[in-house]
């Protein structure tokens, strides 16, 4: 039987606000335990939550980016359960009236086609703290620094049909939150976390199979592996005539397997109800307009513009807009020269290669986009050849100044003086009588040999086109 997998993702995005969603404690990662846990984050008696405006602003920003409905009135609800990293015994979340309603996102598939994926909703909630199990006998330590960090949970429709599509969706959402600058996107630190709902059904069947929820698949690589593994596991059970229980499963990256965390039967009854400490969030059209006026150009629009404005291929435009920082770099470099396509090649080849080699991100590049553009301009205006440009780039990377300084200091300026080149050509012809005879006898391929000799004599600085022309003319 042929099977089809059905996947929906719930992605938790930590919003990069300065303070917690309901308290004035900082959200910085990596502080000493409980140093950033205020009375509110600790759930002390009598203290009350007050909503951080920036969290609302960021959520609305994402809503606008997903073309989603922004609820004029939405409500916080309490999700009640006991766990040591949940100080109040309830999580403040949103339930039946989320801030962000249905929207959508386009993802690009491997075959170059675009797929529209529905987003069911996105809601604001508070993060929990962390339990640490090492270092204490029969005890766990509780660190509540993370408690109260604002989260936006973005729930997709079950529109994804393969692990690859799921990854494409996750990557695209990651790109968008980075573009919007509402999340630092750091997956190691848990700023961008993913739960996946996975089920399988016989191909052609309309009804969904029973789903398993995969918890905490927190890297692009693990998501693909975990989902593929889960799909295989479910198909195997179904083909053996078994049924899938509705349950929560945990992905173990070390063993590449998923295992049961809790089944539906043992599931908590969360007793959601509207949080009486918080009033309805009212978002006015003016507030939305204000957020909209602050929206950056989004990846899809920027890619289209790169194609039309800079004449880039769809592929190149896609690569260069995959992150906001890369796109910003490229635009700055392209703006500093007259050949945006050449700038694209440089950013994607030489620069990316050099950064990869040293494990640096685009924002850590030792060569600024202005300097890279300036160097490209020297290629375009014929000051240096493309070959010499690589040397100039290396020198700039090593911190030897901008292109003009390097060219000047190393005397790399291209020789374009015809008489100077003619002199070098004459010398090469004079020194290689045998090859001249062979060439004139019809061995055209030898032209390359002569060009090479002249270039060598010039230290690589002679203009190759001029060398070519003069050689042809002199050799007859």
């Amino acid at each position: 039987m042929e099977w089809e997998s059905v996947i929906g993702l719930e992605i938790h995005v930590q919003l990069s606000t300065q303070t917690k969603i309901f308290s004035g404690a900082p959200t910085a990662y990596g502080a000493e335990p409980n140093r950033q846990a205020s009375a509110i984050d600790l759930g002390m008696p009598g203290v009350l939550p007050v909503l951080n405006e920036q969290a609302v602003r960021y959520a609305v920003k994402l809503g606008l980016a997903l073309g989603a409905d922004i609820a004029p009135r939405s409500v916080f609800a309490r999700k009640n359960y006991f766990y040591p990293d949940l100080p109040k015994g309830y999580q403040i979340s949103q339930y039946d009236l989320p801030l962000i309603g249905s929207g959508q996102m386009d993802i690009e598939l491997d075959d170059g086609t675009t797929k529209r994926v529905g987003v069911t909703r996105a809601h604001l909630e508070e993060d929990a703290g962390k339990s640490l199990h090492e270092g204490f006998e029969a005890m766990s330590g509780i660190d509540l620094n993370r408690a109260g960090t604002p989260l936006l949970e973005i729930v997709s429709e079950p529109d994804l049909r393969s692990a690859k599509e799921a990854v494409a969706y996750m990557k695209k959402l990651h790109t968008i939150v980075r573009y919007l600058d509402i999340c630092d996107g750091n997956m190691q630190e848990g700023s961008f976390r993913c739960d996946a709902n996975v089920s399988v059904r016989p191909k052609g069947e309309r009804e969904f199979g029973t789903r398993a929820e995969l918890k905490n698949v927190n890297s692009f690589r693990f998501v693909e592996r975990a989902i593929n593994h889960e799909i295989e596991r479910q198909i195997e059970i179904r083909e053996d005539g078994g049924s899938i229980p509705q349950e929560t499963r945990l992905y173990d990256a070390d063993r590449n397997e998923t295992r049961t965390m809790r089944t539906k039967e043992g599931a908590d009854d969360y007793r959601y109800f509207p949080d009486p400490d918080l009033l309805p969030i009212e978002v006015s059209p003016a507030f939305i307009d204000d957020v909209r006026s602050d929206m950056p150009e989004l990846p899809d629009a920027r890619k289209a513009r790169f194609e039309s404005e800079y004449g880039l291929s769809s592929y190149d435009a896609g690569v260069l807009t995959a992150s906001r920082e890369l796109a910003d770099y490229y635009e700055a470099a392209a703006g500093a020269c007259d050949d945006p396509k050449l700038a694209a090649n440089w950013v994607m080849d030489e620069l990316s290669g050099a950064l990869n080699k040293e494990g640096l991100g685009i924002t850590e590049s030792p060569v600024s986009p202005q300097r890279l553009g300036g160097m490209i301009q020297r290629v375009t205006d014929g000051t240096i050849s493309s070959k010499i440009a690589k040397d100039v780039f290396e020198a700039m990377w090593a911190g030897e100044g901008d292109a003009d300084t390097v060219i000047e200091a190393k005397g790399l300026k291209q020789v374009t003086d015809t008489s100077e080149i003619e002199a070098m050509v004459d010398e090469v012809i004079a020194n290689n009588p045998d090859q001249v005879a062979e060439y004139q006898g019809g061995k055209d391929k030898l032209l390359g040999f002569f060009v090479g000799q002249v270039m060598k004599a010039s230290g690589g600085k002679a203009n190759p086109q001029q060398v070519n022309d003069i050689l042809k003319q002199k050799l007859g």
Binding site: T17, Q18, T19, S23, G24, A25, P26, E32, P33, N34, R35, Q36, A37, S38, A39, L42, M44, V50, L51, N52, E53, Q54, A55, V56, R73, V75, F82, Y83, P84, S131, L132, H133, G135, F136, A138, M139, S140, G141, I142, D143, L144, L250, M261, R262, D268, D269, R271, P274, P276, L278, L279, P280, I281, E282
Partner: protein, 96 residues
């Protein structure tokens, strides 16, 4: 609705309350009486009435995203039944 002993145990578990087995019949009786009392609500027609969660028709105030925190960890943890190395200690968490 009358609650039986098992339902009382389930609710007590959900609320994480240890209830002495000997007290369960009393709780079952009291809770059943209270529930029977509040079930008068069922007699009134509330079709189309929007539930009211707050007495006032006010919207949520928003707080500027500014750090106002003062680290008082030592003071807070002096109140804790068990704390060590800046962490609150609880019996080992097994699940998850």
């Amino acid at each position: 609705m009358a609650l039986d002993a098992n339902q009382v145990r389930e609710i007590a578990h959900l609320a994480r309350l240890a209830i002495d087995e000997r007290d369960i019949p009393d709780y079952a009786e009291n809770l059943s009486e209270i529930l029977a009392f509040v079930e008068q609500l069922g007699s009134v027609d509330t079709e189309g009435v929007e539930p009211m969660a707050h007495p006032l028709d006010m919207a949520q105030r928003l707080r500027p995203d500014k750090v106002t925190h003062i680290d008082e960890r030592e003071r807070f943890q002096a109140l804790a039944p068990a704390a060590e190395a800046g962490l609150y200690l609880v019996p080992r968490v097994i699940e998850q």
